[in-house]
């Protein structure tokens, strides 16, 4: 086995193993070979592999259990997109709740429920809080002192609004067909109101 062959095998093994490989574990790969590489030869080859990867996306590092080829941390910003956890779309109930908070703030959960005509689940409020889109502005001075919710700066940022004034007025929203046609020229109609029962 020549040295480039040895390097190919060791590099492939480091990449395929899915775990760090000690020099012993690497030597083990050649148990069936008539001519086995020596320990120092393996070490030298690891140095050569390390040199090969300098200035590239991976680096050879030595951790407690052996050597491994790992993605350089400077590439993390691109790599973490490899494992995007993409949750499902938000529910209509959540969007309506957010819209009511945006337009009616400060507003209590009870008021939101009055407007929507149905209860608002705690998980919706929790999701909106976690997303940093809404916050508690204070408490209404009525029995029970319900929390009043309003939108946040993150909400404005995420929706690309300079301020709440840039939300279209409700009076326009209700003449919808025109807006609708403008918004969805392709004929897609994700916002069709649910038909009345």
């Amino acid at each position: 086995m020549n040295s480039s062959e040895l390097k190919n095998i060791l590099e492939a093994a480091l990449l395929a193993a899915g775990r760090p490989m000690s020099v012993d574990a690497l030597l083990e790969l050649f148990a069936d070979d008539a001519v086995k590489p020596g320990r120092s030869e393996v070490r030298e080859t690891l140095s050569a592999i390390d040199a090969d990867w300098s200035g590239r996306g991976l680096e050879l590092v030595q951790v407690a259990s052996g050597y491994r080829l790992q993605v350089r941390s400077e590439y993390a910003p691109w790599m973490h997109r490899l494992w995007m956890e993409r949750p499902a779309r938000y529910s209509r109930a959540l969007l309506e709740t957010l819209a009511i908070i945006a337009y009616r703030q400060p507003v209590t959960r009870g008021e939101i429920e009055d407007i929507r005509g149905v209860g608002v689940s705690s998980s919706i409020m929790k999701t909106l809080m976690e997303r940093d889109w809404i916050r508690v502005l204070g408490h209404r001075e009525v029995p029970g002192r319900p929390a009043m919710f309003g939108t946040t700066r993150e909400f404005l940022d995420d929706f690309n609004l300079k301020s709440l004034e840039f939300l279209p007025p409700l009076s326009e929203i209700r003449n919808l067909e025109r807006i609708h046609a403008d918004l969805f020229p392709g004929g897609d109609d994700p916002g069709q109101p649910s038909p009345p029962n």
């Binding site: 492939a12 993605v71 973490h80 969007l95 407007i115 929507r116 007025p169 409700l170 916002g191």
Partner: protein
């Protein structure tokens, strides 16, 4: 079963039948000094993937033309094989017996005189030949497929370590349009549930605009939320809100908020009173 018994089972004309297939090579002679466990014969049985496979083996073994199978000879050999199995009391798939019946039928039809009515009669073997060829096609395809580089057997996935890199947790994106449409739905529903007063809506907003303006002074700020009367229910609240928005749009009123999220105060624009 002892070697002697196994020996006795081999009829003289069966010498070309393999007793086992070892590494793909048929073994036709039982090693004299070896005890053959019944499992080994089962292995031999399992070497065939059914009657078509067995027939193909027999045809190949004797270098026969698949398009012109000497049906009597093949039937004889096939039956010997079946009998051997039965004598060894190995369980035989029902398909082997069905094939035996089919061979017997073809054999008898081959014996009948041909060209009875002058019309060309189909070769009694045609269906069998078709099935054998079709099976052989897929048998070969399976072999070629098995020869393809297989992931985990011939070629291997790699997985450079990325344990230091956390997955990107993406929240669903919502556009302002979706938000507006959601609000539209809220408004629609509010209207629908309010005794179908939809057509009166613009009017009541106008009315409310007037009453709000009337209640506001240009000298003194009023608290925004005092303009709402929750006892009016959601429709009333929405109407008030719309009226305020419309008043703002028309620059009839002015709203101020001393601090972020602090109370909002409203007053009529002074020029309106001039």
């Amino acid at each position: 079963m002892s070697v002697a018994e196994a020996d006795a089972l081999r009829a003289p004309q069966q010498h070309e039948m393999p007793f086992a297939i070892v590494h793909g090579d048929p073994v036709t002679e039982l090693p004299r000094d070896l005890y053959i466990p019944p499992q080994a014969l089962e292995v031999f049985l399992e070497a065939f993937e059914g009657p078509l496979d067995l027939l193909l083996y027999l045809i190949k073994r004797h270098n026969l033309n698949i398009l012109d199978i000497p049906i009597a000879e093949i039937t004889r050999q096939y039956m010997e094989y079946i009998e051997l199995m039965e004598e060894l009391q190995l369980e035989l798939a029902a398909e082997y017996l069905v094939m035996a019946a089919m061979l017997a039928e073809i054999k008898s039809r081959m014996l009948l005189p041909r060209h009875v009515e002058g019309e060309e009669e189909e070769d009694p073997r045609a269906e069998l030949v078709r099935r054998l060829q079709e099976y052989e096609q897929y048998k070969q395809a399976a072999e070629s497929m098995d020869a393809l580089p297989q992931l985990g057997r011939d070629v291997f996935e790699v997985r450079a370590d990325s344990s230091g890199i956390s997955p990107l947790r993406v929240q669903p994106q919502v556009s302002i349009q979706e938000l507006i449409l959601a609000m539209r739905d809220v408004l629609h529903r509010a209207e629908l549930s309010s005794h179908h007063h939809v057509q009166r809506e613009p009017l009541s907003v106008r009315e409310r605009m007037s009453s709000i303006l009337g209640s506001l002074s240009s000298e003194k700020y009023s608290e925004f939320r005092m303009l709402f009367d929750v006892t009016e229910g959601r429709l009333g609240v929405v109407v008030t809100f719309l009226a305020i928005l419309e008043l703002l749009r028309e620059a009839l009123i002015e709203m101020v908020q001393a601090q972020a999220y602090g109370p909002i105060h409203v007053r009529a624009m002074s020029r309106e009173l001039e």
